[in-house]
Symmetry: C2
Subunit: 466 residues, 2 copies
């Protein structure tokens, strides 16, 4: 059995405005289906060699990870990093966690922000990697290069091993284009950050080559606590060095092996790459959502709801979201990072927060904003409740449009069915809960002179928020 270890930390803005600081690329639904994280999960679920996945995630992304795993119907173990420390500490913690359960377990470390076209090929590669890993080696997946990419590290394969795969002769840092072409001609492979090893072998190598990380991982597991069904690593985790697994272990160990992998891997690193991975018509136009192209070529048009129309454009990305629209040539997609940095510096909320804000209990989205009012749509998951709270500057009207809500208002507890409403005067202590089996959705109309999120005084919270 192979335990998939899904790395789900990190955030990214290269698919802005779809991905944002607070809504990472791996969680963005793409290609008309699930998110890359969900696709990573389902790829290793419900079939032979794979055991229940272990998801390693940051504190910020934990509820999103749990929600998307549940939506994909995949049961997972969840390990929460108290703070982000790069891949070595994350993997060290996963290895320590596995060692304490089964030292002979084989772990398959997978980033969650990539696409893989050929699932069967992926599974077959994972099985070959597991065989090599069982012999005690630390195996990297060497991805068959498709272009002389300058954005990845390369692996130079060495001697053939009896267990399959090859010893790694060298890791090569991100090259320039000419060097990349030369590396490919020599038979070098891309390093996609996917690894396979036994818990025992990885544990020994981490202890030998990165003892601080090993100690921090062990202490973090010792101090780990249950956190709403997930395992939150102890504060000792913060002592681990911020370093990648490649640099801290793979490049130093004598047991580094590589398995050649060719299963249609893509890191969807920007809009150009997402366009390349999308189904396209004969003019090279990819449409997602309610988009219409008239005489366009080689373009990516995406709508999150509105009607998006393009006439006669070529090589363009047009991305519509509820609060921001991006228009940029596909071959200048790398400049989005600079745009987002500038927007962030300008204090633009759209740069960092998604229009739909996910919370441990569900999500909310502002649908209308006027002079002294704000309208939100709020969804609360079954069994969840918001904090007991009050506001100093606003009153709220709640109309239930789906499901059944339990509303606490000062000393009353009111059960509200679909099509019923309640008024929460300024200063009242209130709470919204979903006692039912389906999500509850309400329309909230706030009125007052100050309508920002920070006008909240919390008395009790299921999620430990102050």
């Amino acid at each position: 059995m192979i335990i998939p270890v899904i790395l789900c930390g990190g955030s990214g803005t290269r698919l802005w405005p779809l991905s944002r600081r607070d809504f990472a690329k791996q969680h963005v639904p793409i290609l008309g289906g699930g998110s890359p994280f969900q696709r990573t999960l389902t790829r290793v679920s419900g079939q032979a060699p794979f055991a229940r996945p272990l998801v390693v995630t940051g504190a910020g992304g934990r509820f999103m990870a749990a929600e998307q795993a549940a939506a994909a119907g995949v049961a997972v173990d969840l390990l929460i990093e108290p703070e982000p420390r790069d891949t070595l500490p994350a993997i060290a913690a996963a290895v320590e966690w596995s060692m304490r359960r089964d030292p002979d377990a084989v772990l398959l470390v997978l980033p969650s922000d990539h696409l893989i076209a050929d699932t069967a090929g992926f599974v077959a590669t994972a099985e070959r990697a597991a065989t090599t890993a069982a012999a005690g080696d630390l195996v990297a997946f060497g991805l068959a290069p498709t272009t002389p990419a300058t954005g990845y590290g390369y692996i130079r394969p060495g001697a053939l091993l009896p267990s399959g795969g090859r010893r790694i002769a060298a890791f090569v840092e991100k090259p320039d284009a000419a060097r990349a072409a030369a590396l490919i001609a020599e038979g070098c492979l891309w390093n996609g950050g996917m690894f396979c090893f036994s818990a025992r072998a990885a544990h020994a190598e981490i202890a030998a080559l990165a003892p601080e990380a090993a100690a921090a991982a062990a202490a973090a597991l010792d101090g780990a606590t249950d956190d709403l069904g997930a395992l939150r690593l102890g504060p000792a985790f913060a002592a681990a060095p911020k370093i990648s697994f490649d640099y801290g272990v793979m490049e130093k160990t004598a047991s580094a092996a590589v398995i050649e992998a060719d299963f249609g891997w893509s890191d969807i690193g920007d809009w150009r790459e997402l366009w390349a991975q999308s189904p396209k018509d004969e003019s090279g136009v990819a449409l997602e959502g309610d988009a219409v192209a008239l005489d366009c070529r080689d373009s990516y048009l995406r709508s999150d709801g509105r009607l998006v129309c393009a006439i006669g454009v070529e090589g363009l990305a047009v991305v519509d979201t509820p609060d921001a629209v991006l228009v940029a040539p596909l071959d200048r997609a790398q400049e989005i990072k600079g745009l987002v940095t500038a927007l962030t510096a300008g204090g633009r909320r759209e740069a960092t927060e998604p229009a739909r804000v996910h919370r441990p209990w569900g999500w909310y989205q502002t649908m209308d904003l006027g002079d002294r009012f704000r309208v939100k749509r709020i969804q609360v998951a079954p069994g969840k409740k918001l904090s007991l709270q009050k506001h100093h500057h606003r009153a709220e009207h709640w109309v239930v449009v789906r499901g059944t809500a339990e509303v606490t208002r000062d000393d009353e507890v009111i059960l509200l069915r679909e099509n019923e409403s309640v008024f929460l005067p300024l200063g009242c202590v209130h709470r919204l809960a979903n006692p039912g089996k389906i999500p509850v959705e309400i329309i909230e109309v706030q009125t007052g002179a100050y309508l920002e999120e920070d006008d909240i005084l919390r008395f009790e919270d299921d999620f430990g928020r102050g």
Copy 2:
């Protein structure tokens, strides 16, 4: 005194998605200010030679015309055409209306969907035209051509008149580009559809050259009725031939004169023209609303609320509205007509109706739409009320977020202040009114299985709707 006759019929889709079948170009706010209709009104208001304007509008646009005139602070007389019949019948009705008040009145006929940069130059030209008109001639404005445009008719000036201006030697139909250049070299002028004449002279010429139109106009005035403060022409208006004033009168009369006009006229016929008229930065980029351009050139970016970002585009129009986004090269702006035709054929509401739907009492806009609910923002003008109505398939919650509303619910009449709400169960007979002095704004949450506009049974209506 000159009576401005503002022609405000017609609709246009060439500025889609900003203008729509139900929201004509002349009513679209542009260039960071009022609409072309409002600019036309203020250009002839509050200064010396101009009397109170007469606005001729269709039944569909009458409330919008009245609302925008009021918002611009211009008192007008309003003549409603029961159905659209091109410019000759509209002008004939205005002439008949004036004849009955003051046969010596000088009328200045102005389309309302154009821009004029130089107001002082426009006023001076109008005064020259009025002098020629007072001598009994029918005067067309001959606009100084700026490009060999193929979209306008041309006027060839002839002999100089003692009253100023020149006799018209010939009207030339829309030419091709080569012919247009030749016409300009010969001294021909654009025909912009602006005319000046005395009521008496025009009345006589229309009677002589277009007797059916003259008779229909007279009968329509005889049968005209007061309609909420406007004058609605009688049904006889429909007997007028559908024909332009140029073709039916100006090209035939012996009294046709032309005044050369040069005051920065533009018909803002498409996005390219609006871009040309807009203030631009040194890269030729025009921004309206919340738009950000990074390394763009010669482009027009417009936001109606969302953040619109463009990177590295050239010669592009990006137009964002609440329900539709357009991306098209400025030099292919003329293809928008075809796009809108196709969308209309596909039954797309966005092709014809604006997101904000104007009604005689104010406006509404859908802000959120879910599985069994819809959220609208509704504004009711002071003193106005909606029809007394009921719905078979939906209940409604109203929350007042601004002003004071008077709500009729079956046998009750309830006064709702800001921050108060009311529930209207399915099937109840209800009405929303604004008894106050400022607009009332409410958030309406509809719930039910069918939430379209046609689920309405009206019992009483201030605006004669069934």
